[in-house]
């Protein structure tokens, strides 16, 4: 294989230098967290493209009212499979990929605590994806034997029971989701063990970089919530396979469909934070770097993440405001939900505080971080609106909710992913990317995210329900705008791939710290980092983490 590859990318054996297959095998069986991280990232990007294709099919169908592109039966499978691809196979594993690469280095460790478990956790994903999406393959090739489930990503029974969704595609979906849950639980255990046991000298908890902190909090969330999803899925599967014996959720057998919703959202609300918390971490690394200033209020940032995580567990019922639970209960859940906006708001103000008085340089990662700040604020504010019960009763299950979730996950999570991708690309590959293409990518992405999703707020307010195959013609114009926006948004992503290709072709070597002001340990290593990260055990030079202005001579540098 390429003999020019450096650092952890370099082949380990003589054989691998000449044979691509051996080199690939070396990667596939590697227990190096960096290589596993890169495999996670590549895998997620592929799955992200699957999810993107599903979403484009949705937007083509909705571009004009009336049946246009697919049949109603096919359409009903699209939103659920789009969400499944994006949530379980794109955003969550992509963050795990970044974390695999960065967390061990940021705490000064040679690798993860359980490298083999790490490899195992990754290799669960491709088969899980194959199981979950095999039904889509059948669908694409026009075979009716296996069809994807049409119960959305929420799989509410009784719609998801065998009586209403008897096809094996639904069983495959459930199996895939359980496998993904297993994989991310393994990952979470591994991250926690790593951060708790393998920090280098002087790396106390309140010295940890915020990205690592974000991963600690996320891992706790995963550990506590994923088993609940897995049990809900197992219960559902039992009920599907043996309807005579089990009826947890079917009212005919004395079960309660609302029980499933409680179990599902007990996972899936924290899952929203699983999908944004690492992004908070990424932004907290990027903004100080490009502002030449330490993060504003480090400890408040940490505690607000912990507060979001704790509160995230006691707000799940706000997804069920119209399911008929008691008014008093909903009032409680509403208050807790609104409280979450407080630590989230504090984070936004802290990022602004970091920028204020700094020396701002708008390279691509910083552009994405800034765009994230504004658009995530919109997503957060529409969240506050939705938390208010009476307003939610009007807006629940309309396009307003679709707009909100996409402002949080596309304008939020995806923007942080892009920011992180550009930020660490030189570190991961040892190559620089094209700054101008990066900027074009940013502007087109930002503009078309708003074109695509902002109008959906309006559709929701005017009463267009979500997951509709056909709609009231008075919504036609805005739907067309949204569809055109989504096509342009998808096209803009070609620039990212062009940039990647160009970067790999030009081979402009990156220095160890191309951003100059990045302070965490990964920037003390060469780009790309060597196989075992550190030649000798690093010692962290403690950073001022207090409040108020620091003395001018304290300019801590990471130890070499």
């Amino acid at each position: 294989m390429s003999t020019t590859a450096k650092g952890y990318l370099a082949p380990l054996t003589k054989e691998a230098e000449t044979s691509t297959w051996v080199y690939l095998k070396e990667w596939f069986c590697s227990t190096d967290a960096k290589r596993i991280g890169v495999m996670y990232i590549i895998f997620s990007i592929i799955m992200g493209l699957v999810g993107l294709a599903e979403s484009l099919a949705i937007r083509i169908e909705l571009a004009a009212p009336g049946p246009t592109f697919v049949s109603d039966a096919t359409y009903m499978t699209l939103p659920g499979m789009h969400a499944t691809a994006m949530i379980f196979f794109f955003i969550i594993p992509l963050y795990t990929g970044f974390a695999n690469f960065l967390v061990p280095i940021q705490i000064g460790a040679p690798d993860m605590a359980f490298p083999k478990l790490n490899l195992c956790a990754f290799w669960i994903l491709p088969p899980a994806a194959l199981i979950t999406f095999s039904s889509v393959l059948f669908q694409v090739f026009g075979v009716d034997l296996v069809v994807p489930p049409d119960f959305g990503w929420t799989a509410y029974p009784p719609l998801s029971t065998a009586a209403y969704n008897s096809n094996i595609g639904a069983d495959l979906w459930i199996m895939g989701v359980i496998l993904v849950g297993t994989s991310s639980t393994m990952g979470a255990v591994n991250f926690l063990s790593t951060v708790f046991n393998m920090r280098c000298k002087n790396m106390t908890f309140f010295q940890l970089p915020l990205f690592t902190w974000a991963l600690v909090v996320t891992s706790f969330l995963i550990l506590a919530s994923t088993p609940v999803l897995s049990s809900a899925m197992l219960m559902l599967q039992l009920e599907r396979t043996m309807p005579e014996l089990f009826s947890f959720f079917s009212p005919q057998g004395g079960g309660d469909p609302i029980l499933y919703q409680h179990l599902f959202w007990f996972y899936s609300h924290p899952a929203v934070y699983i999908m944004i918390m690492p992004g908070f971490g990424i932004i907290s690394e990027i903004i100080p770097t490009f502002s030449r200033k330490p993060i504003f209020g480090y400890s408040v940032m940490v505690w607000s993440m912990i507060a979001i995580a704790v509160l995230g567990f006691v707000v799940w019922a706000h997804h069920m405001f119209t399911s008929g639970i008691a008014t008093e209960v909903r009032a409680g859940f509403m208050f807790l939900t609104m409280l979450i906006a407080v630590p989230t708001g504090i984070k936004i103000f802290s990022w602004l505080g970091t920028m204020w008085g700094g020396s701002l340089k708008f390279d691509t990662p910083m552009l994405f971080a800034t765009g994230f700040l504004i658009m995530f604020t919109i997503g957060g504010l529409s969240g506050v609106t939705l938390a208010s019960v009476p307003v939610d009763i009007e807006l629940h299950d309309t396009y307003y909710v679709v707009a909100h979730i996409h402002y949080v996950l596309v304008a939020g999570a995806l923007m942080t992913i892009f920011a992180g991708f550009y930020f660490w690309w030189p570190k991961i590959t040892g190559l620089m990317y094209d700054e101008r293409l990066g900027r074009i990518h940013f502007w087109l992405t930002t503009i078309f995210i708003n074109v695509t999703f902002f109008v959906q707020h309006y559709l929701g307010v005017k009463g267009m329900p979500r997951r509709y195959f056909d709609y009231d013609p008075s919504f036609a114009d805005l739907n067309l705008v949204s569809s055109l926006g989504s096509f342009a948004l998808a096209a803009a992503q070609l620039i990212l791939f062009a940039n990647i290709a160009l970067s790999l072709k030009r081979k402009v070597a990156a220095t160890a710290n191309p951003w100059k002001d990045a302070k965490t340990l990964e920037w003390a290593l060469s780009s790309p980092p060597p196989h075992h990260n550190f030649d000798e055990d690093p010692v962290w030079e403690p950073v001022e983490r207090g409040h108020g202005p620091a003395s001018h001579d304290a300019h801590p540098q990471p130890a070499e």
């Binding site: 004009a64 049946p67 592109f69 209020g297 997951r467 067309l480």
Partner: protein
């Protein structure tokens, strides 16, 4: 500073201008929402809906102010603190406890304010006021039924209510979870099988609409044209992209196309409600419920009290409506059997040319009527091919005339020549199946053994509290005085619930309640007489008042 320096500074300004221009472009949609009317809530046609809209407007304003503040700080920072030279070294501030805590406090205060404001509205919107009547909304895949228990329990496909009157809605589902949504009235509530959720509505009536719909002044046309906008170019392009031709995939236009006259927030009432003084609102389903989720539109027709009384009268007398078998078939049967009676392979058998509907003899006719009345479950063979689907019973939806009309439509269309039936035959079959005459209470007693075996099945849902032997805890049924001697009390408890017991029977039919009562009166060592559905119907009417 050198010329180059000046130039780069100038360039910087250019970039700043671009940045500002583009970000302003992003702000426009945000500002557009703040302009009165642009982002207006739709729930403006009922008092509680208007409360919700008011609350939303307050929230939107608060959110908008916060958004503007964030933008102002951010743009301020972008303008003031851009890096001017490479060796710039800003002051290393690590935070400011006072500012951070101040922001924390401010954010909390805003949230508490919003919370209190919300709870205020919530109690007004949700607390059930004194209601004049109750309508049961029953969802199924993929349509709605509205039952009027206060008026003999007849069933309609549209929600017809008196305007300016508090009406209680009892919402449930027959199969999967649906959700009842009427945007203009600000009501949404999930229809969950196995339980009744309630909501209430007080819809604005025709008075409020004067001047809003200038079309109402002239003669309302008998049938309004479609409001579907002319997107033919886009539709054709999309169809061309698609691998399969639309015509092949969709032999018929969607139900939406047929009902589109009253969409687009049009408040005109037409055809069958044209003679009443009324306005209508669009109702739909908002919980994913399978293939036909998008096609569960219903009308909410709010009438003046006089018109409503007239409408009730017309319902009871069948009105002056001519029964049209084709119309009933298209709206109720075609979703499974196809507009041309072609059926769906494997699930729903064809009707065109089917031996079940084409043999011109009495036995064949009776079987046909029976299937329509009681539905069908399990495998059947039609034209040599096996089908295995579920057909719902229609005995409580269609009256004898309607059943006869739809049966005749099926027996004489698509080349079928199976001879006609009349409503007398339907009445006979209905009676022989033990169904009550439509739509009043039942007349022929149901066999005791049937009630017991049906009741036994229903009792499976009661075992958790009452035990398999009816002797569990304080909720003993064995030898219970209520079960043995107080039938009205028993019915009332089932229908209305008590402190300790939820209203389990609210979602049950009279026959189901009769079955469960009979079962408990005959089991666990109890031996009391059977209770008939007709008796339950009578008691139910009394106790629900």
């Amino acid at each position: 500073m050198t010329v180059l320096g000046h130039l780069s500074k100038h360039m910087n300004k250019c970039t700043i201008t671009t940045v500002l221009a583009l970000l302003t472009a992003l702000l426009i949609p945000g500002i557009a929402m703040a302009i009165p009317g642009a982002g207006d809530f739709t729930s403006l046609e009922s008092p509680s809906g208007r409360e919700i809209a008011d609350l939303y407007n307050i929230l939107a304003k608060i959110c908008f102010v916060i958004f503007v503040l964030v933008c102002a700080v951010l743009f301020g920072a972008i303008l003031r603190f851009r890096r001017k030279s490479e060796d710039e070294n800003p002051e290393q501030i690590h935070g400011n406890m006072k500012v951070e805590m101040g922001l924390l406090l401010a954010a909390s205060l805003i949230q508490v304010f919003i919370g209190i404001k919300t709870i205020d509205t919530m109690w007004y919107v949700e607390k059930l006021p004194e209601t004049k009547m109750t309508v049961e909304a029953i969802a199924y895949q993929w349509d709605w039924q509205f039952r009027y228990p206060d008026h003999g329990g007849f069933i309609t496909e549209d929600l017809v209510i008196p305007a300016y009157t508090n009406v209680k809605l009892d919402i449930t589902s027959k199969d999967v979870i649906h959700s009842l949504f009427v945007p203009e009235l600000g009501i949404k509530m999930d229809a969950v099988p196995g339980r009744f959720n309630y909501w209430w509505v007080n819809a604005d009536g025709p008075v409020n609409q004067v001047g809003i719909e200038p079309n109402l002044e002239g003669n309302t046309p008998a049938k309004l044209g479609t409001t579907r906008s002319d997107n033919t170019v886009i539709r054709q392009t999309l169809n061309a992209l698609s691998l399969v031709q639309t015509e092949e995939r969709h032999p018929n236009t969607s139900g939406l196309e047929q009902r589109v006259t009253y969409l687009a927030a049009s408040r005109k009432v037409d055809d069958k409600y044209a003679k009443y003084d009324a306005v209508e609102y669009r109702g739909m389903c908002t919980e994913l419920c399978g293939k036909g989720h998008y096609d569960m539109y219903f009308r909410v027709v709010a009438m003046t009290p006089a018109s409503f009384a007239q409408w009730l009268e017309d319902q009871k007398n069948g009105g002056d409506k001519e029964v049209d078998g084709k119309e009933i078939y298209d709206s109720k049967c075609a979703s499974c059997h196809g507009l041309e009676g072609a059926g769906i392979a494997g699930q729903f058998p064809p009707l065109a040319g089917s031996e079940w509907v084409t043999e011109d003899n009495d036995e064949n006719k009776r079987r046909h009527v029976q299937v329509v009345l009681e539905g069908l479950k399990g495998a059947v063979t039609v034209k040599g091919v096996e089908y295995n689907g579920v057909m719902q019973p229609w005995f409580n939806v269609l009256n004898d005339d309607e059943v006869a009309a739809v049966v005749n439509h099926e027996r004489t269309s698509w080349g079928n020549a199976g001879g006609e039936v009349d409503s007398k035959l339907v009445a006979e079959v209905r009676e022989s199946l033990g169904y009550p005459a439509f739509s009043a209470g039942g007349a022929i007693p149901v066999p005791e053994q049937d009630l017991i075996s049906e009741g036994e099945k229903i009792y499976a849902a009661c075992v958790t509290c009452h035990g398999a032997d009816g002797k569990k805890g304080s909720a003993k049924l064995a030898n219970s005085p209520k079960a043995l001697s107080d039938v009205p009390g028993y019915v009332s408890m089932l229908v209305n619930g008590t402190q300790a017991k939820s209203a389990m029977g609210q979602s049950m039919t009279d026959r189901e309640i009769a079955a469960i009562i009979t079962y408990t009166r005959k089991s666990f060592g109890n031996d009391a007489s059977a209770v008939q559905p007709a008796e339950v119907a009578r008691i139910r009417k009394e106790v629900t008042k």
